[in-house]
């Protein structure tokens, strides 16, 4: 089910939210939590009911493994480490089968010309997300960090509909204790007001911005023969995709945060104005923040992190980003994308280290004008590096991406206007980048300025009216965005594919 669709916004969501609070009030919190699990399963199976079983089995098996890892009462028969390894292996085998089997077969086929037939596999939506969240749970169960063990809360943590399909990548320690709190089981006007505002802003990002950028990007990346690309079209399409993926995914994340807040549950933020980053290290602290955190805690650190020397640190960074790239999709384009970001990070860390030894660097950075110029240059350089990498992320093949890049950087056939829209589409791209580079982000706008203004209303009665009025405004925007989305046809979120 799409967050932007009428069936979700006008049927599913009101029924689920109202049902949750009504059940909590009349039948108790445990049944209300169960209701949310049931609703999440319905949400998941709406398009492909056949994968509900996979999700349920995955939840059950991982909960059982987690339970044994937490108790550790079988130590005399088998080591806990072996159980952890076995449980993680099962998760990775299932993920590999669905996500990477055809990639592997295709690679073998192209290397050895083995003429291997592709398997008839359809990727279950969200499998990467629910696999990773559960691996983290297993690792933390082994490490003795899991505090909340309620099986309903565990099932809800994994299947919770706002995040199930495209994240954020949740951590059990953030989520499961929230499901145990009594406060979330009664409606709160403040949460509703803020949640609806996040939902409205996320819809605007997706429906108005991302979906408008999509055709401009598709015009470039869906070209069957990229050999005759013009320089203009190559830049036009790549810049459009840079905007599309940002507004698409950050819009989805805003909606997830907002939907969850309607129920009173806080999800972690996933974006923090990533295109305003001044270096790649900063970029990864701002882009898909929950995945970055996961990769750091459950891959980079276990690999040794920065504890084993500079050389090993760089290797760990590169390996982490390569696997992070592969997590996104089973294709060499994603491997190259991850590899590029790994390289960027290595260069960034290397530069930081080297800059300290460049004569005059510190002095220059104390000059406010030079510092500001340096910041602008650093932001632009970071953005350029990110844009180059997005080319691989979006292209159908590495060859296609290389041709797009070649057209962008000199071998383009001409500077002809890319579309009939011409100037207007360039103006749109400029406006999109102005928003991404200079405006405040969703959490700053809603959880910061807007929340503070609501909280600053001293009179409690007036505050209630203000919050309800804001809810009314958000509802108008949400309804309008749903209508606009319907008029534009079905457009999935990019991260549904991962």
């Amino acid at each position: 089910m799409l967050f932007t669709s009428g069936e979700f916004l006008f049927l599913y969501l009101p029924i689920v939210v109202a049902g949750f609070f009504a059940i909590a009030k009349t039948m108790g919190r445990a049944i209300a939590a169960g209701w949310l699990v049931l609703a999440s399963i319905v949400f998941y199976g709406f398009w492909r009911p056949e994968y509900i079983a996979l999700l349920l089995v995955s939840i059950a098996v991982n909960y059982v493994f987690g339970y044994f890892l937490q108790r550790g009462s079988f130590d005399r028969y088998i080591s806990r480490r072996a159980v952890l390894g076995f449980a993680i292996a099962i998760n990775l085998i299932v993920l590999s089968y669905y996500k990477y089997a055809n990639f592997l077969l295709g690679t073998l086929d192209s290397v050895f010309a083995a003429d291997l037939p592709a398997l008839d596999i359809v990727l279950p939506i969200g499998i990467s997300f629910f696999t990773f969240t559960q691996i983290a749970y297993l690792v933390d169960s082994y490490a003795g960090k899991v505090q909340e063990r309620n099986p309903i809360h565990y099932a809800l943590f994994v299947s919770y509909f706002p995040h199930l399909i495209s994240g954020p990548v949740l951590h059990h320690a953030d989520m499961m204790p929230q499901f145990a709190r009594a406060e979330i089981y009664a409606p709160r006007l403040f949460n509703m007001s803020i949640g609806a505002a996040f939902l409205a802003l996320g819809l605007i990002k997706k429906v108005l911005l991302a979906d408008s950028a999509a055709p401009l990007a598709n015009e470039l990346f869906d070209t069957q023969d990229p050999s005759g690309l013009s320089t203009t079209l190559a830049w036009h399409g790549t810049l459009a995709y840079t905007l599309q993926i940002y507004f698409d995914f950050s819009g989805y994340s805003d909606m997830a945060v907002g939907l969850s807040l309607l129920i009173g549950v806080r999800l972690p933020y996933n974006f923090n104005s990533p295109y305003q980053a001044r270096n790649i290290i900063d970029f990864w602290r701002r882009w898909h923040m929950t995945l970055s955190r996961f990769l750091r805690d459950y891959l980079y650190v276990p690999l040794g992190g920065n504890r084993l020397g500079v050389g090993r640190r760089y290797i760990n960074l590169a390996v982490t980003m390569l696997l992070g790239g592969l997590w996104h999709g089973a294709a060499w384009t994603f491997v190259v994308w991850g590899g590029l970001h790994g390289l960027y990070l290595v260069v960034n860390h290397g530069w930081r280290h080297a800059a300290e030894h460049v004569p005059g660097y510190r002095v220059a950075m104390e000059n406010p004008i030079l510092r500001r110029l340096g910041a602008v240059a650093a932001t632009l350089l970071t953005l350029a590096a990110v844009i180059v990498a997005w080319t691989f992320f979006r292209a159908e093949s590495v060859t296609h991406a290389m041709r797009v890049l070649a057209a962008m950087f000199g071998s383009g056939s001409s500077f002809a206007s890319p579309t009939d829209a011409g100037l207007s589409s360039w103006a749109w791209i400029a406006a999109g980048f102005a928003l991404a580079l200079f405006s405040r982000n969703s959490q700053e706008l809603i959880d910061g300025a807007f929340s503070r203004k609501l909280a600053a209303v001293a009179n409690r009665d007036l505050r209630d009216v203000a919050m309800a009025a804001s809810l009314g405004t958000s509802v108008v925007i949400i309804v309008l965005m749903a209508f606009v989305a319907a008029s534009r046809g079905v457009t999935e979120f990019i991260y549904f594919n991962f």
């Binding site: 049927l11 006007l189 009025a469 009314g472 319907a486």
Partner: protein, 363 residues
């Protein structure tokens, strides 16, 4: 206390909702939202569906107001920047939204281009194109037009669906008579209440209905393709009725009589959106080829065959459009967002008609 809380929330919500809606209404009034195209009230003098006369309109499409056009609706409620003078000679053009032509500047439409280049021989071109019209409308309108004007040439635009849509019941439109293959019957135009008239002028309502073309199907069906096979091709109804051929025969005989012109002065202008899609994307042709000919396809084919047998001229636009696209790469419509003809499409059609309408030495 709880009652007070509920009252505060209700009041606040209603105020926020109402104020935002008003702001939206104001913004859409300022923006080029679709406007001015309203169905006229029932009129005994001209009982068919037409627009509120003597008005200006704004056309735009999509959420972001693409293709903004402004124009005039004349004294009879049709899109034209001049009034139709009763009793005058007229070249009459029938059709649906293609001929109504809201999405083009008037001077780019077929009637205007034909009028400009048709020479002094051509009587003033009267555009009776109305969105939603189908074949029975033109037969029904024929008598009304003959009573008011002196037709010299008749041009009938025929698009996909124009035969089967003739069975639909739509206020102010003619439909095929269920009992008599030789006649059509008028469904009375509906009288809209004052409330409806006020509501339909709301910018928000116009935006939702006309710009977004809001409907329940698109709002509540977001299920994407399965992605593991070819997309399902929608095949229209294929079951033809025996009476379809009889209706076609009768139609081509009756239409010239209704308008009081010889068959040789009637031109059928056949266009097909489906076939035009195949011009741009050959794979669409393969997909449509997977469907058997629809009832509409077969009926229209019969109609054109019968038309030629009685001397009615037929212009098929698809070969013209294909030739133009292959030579220039220029599309003849606003596809893929809108399949209506653009100025080029109208010009090519006008050129083809002009060739057929040249005065012959015998005349």
């Amino acid at each position: 206390m709880k009652t007070h809380f509920a009252a505060r929330v209700t009041l606040g919500f209603a105020a926020g909702f109402a104020l935002s809606t008003l702001l939206l209404e104001a913004a859409l009034w300022l923006l080029p939202t679709y406007n001015g195209v309203y169905a006229a009230d029932p009129d005994a003098d001209w009982p068919v569906h037409h627009l509120v006369p003597n008005a200006s309109y704004t056309y735009s499409t999509g959420w972001n107001f693409r293709n903004v056009r402004r124009g005039e609706i004349n004294n009879m409620g049709y899109v034209a920047p001049f009034d139709y003078a009763p009793g005058s000679e007229a070249t009459v053009i029938f059709g649906d939204s293609y001929i109504e032509g809201l999405m083009n500047r008037y001077e780019d439409t077929l009637p205007a281009q034909l009028a400009t280049s048709g020479g002094a021989d051509l009587a003033p071109l009267l555009n009776f194109g109305i969105s939603g019209s189908a074949l029975p409308d033109y037969l029904g309108l024929g008598t009304l037009i003959r009573d008011r004007f002196r037709p010299t040439w008749i041009i009938v635009f025929i698009g996909d669906g124009d035969f089967v849509e003739g069975f639909d019941v739509r206020p102010g439109h003619f439909r095929w008579s269920p009992d008599d293959v030789a006649s059509v019957e008028l469904m009375p135009e509906q009288l809209r209440s004052k409330l409806v008239k006020v509501v339909r002028r709301s910018a928000v309502v116009r935006y939702l209905r006309a710009n977004l073309r809001l409907n329940m199907h698109s709002l509540f069906d977001s299920r994407p393709g399965t992605g593991d096979g070819p997309e399902m091709t929608f095949c229209p109804e294929t079951h033809s009725e025996r009476t379809d051929v009889e209706r076609a025969k009768s139609y081509v005989a009756e239409l010239p009589l209704a308008l009081g012109v010889p068959a040789g002065r009637v031109i059928f202008l056949r266009d097909s959106e489906t076939q035009r899609q195949a011009i741009y994307a050959p794979e669409a042709k393969r997909e449509s080829a997977a469907c058997p000919p629809s009832r509409d396809d077969e009926a229209l084919e019969s109609l054109l065959r019968e038309a030629q047998s009685v001397g009615i001229k037929v212009v098929d636009t698809v070969p013209l459009f294909r030739k133009h696209y292959e030579a220039t790469g220029e599309r003849v419509d606003y596809s893929p967002t809108d399949w209506h003809w653009n100025a080029t499409g109208h010009r090519l059609a006008a050129d083809a008609l002009r060739d057929l309408m040249q005065p012959s030495p015998a005349r």
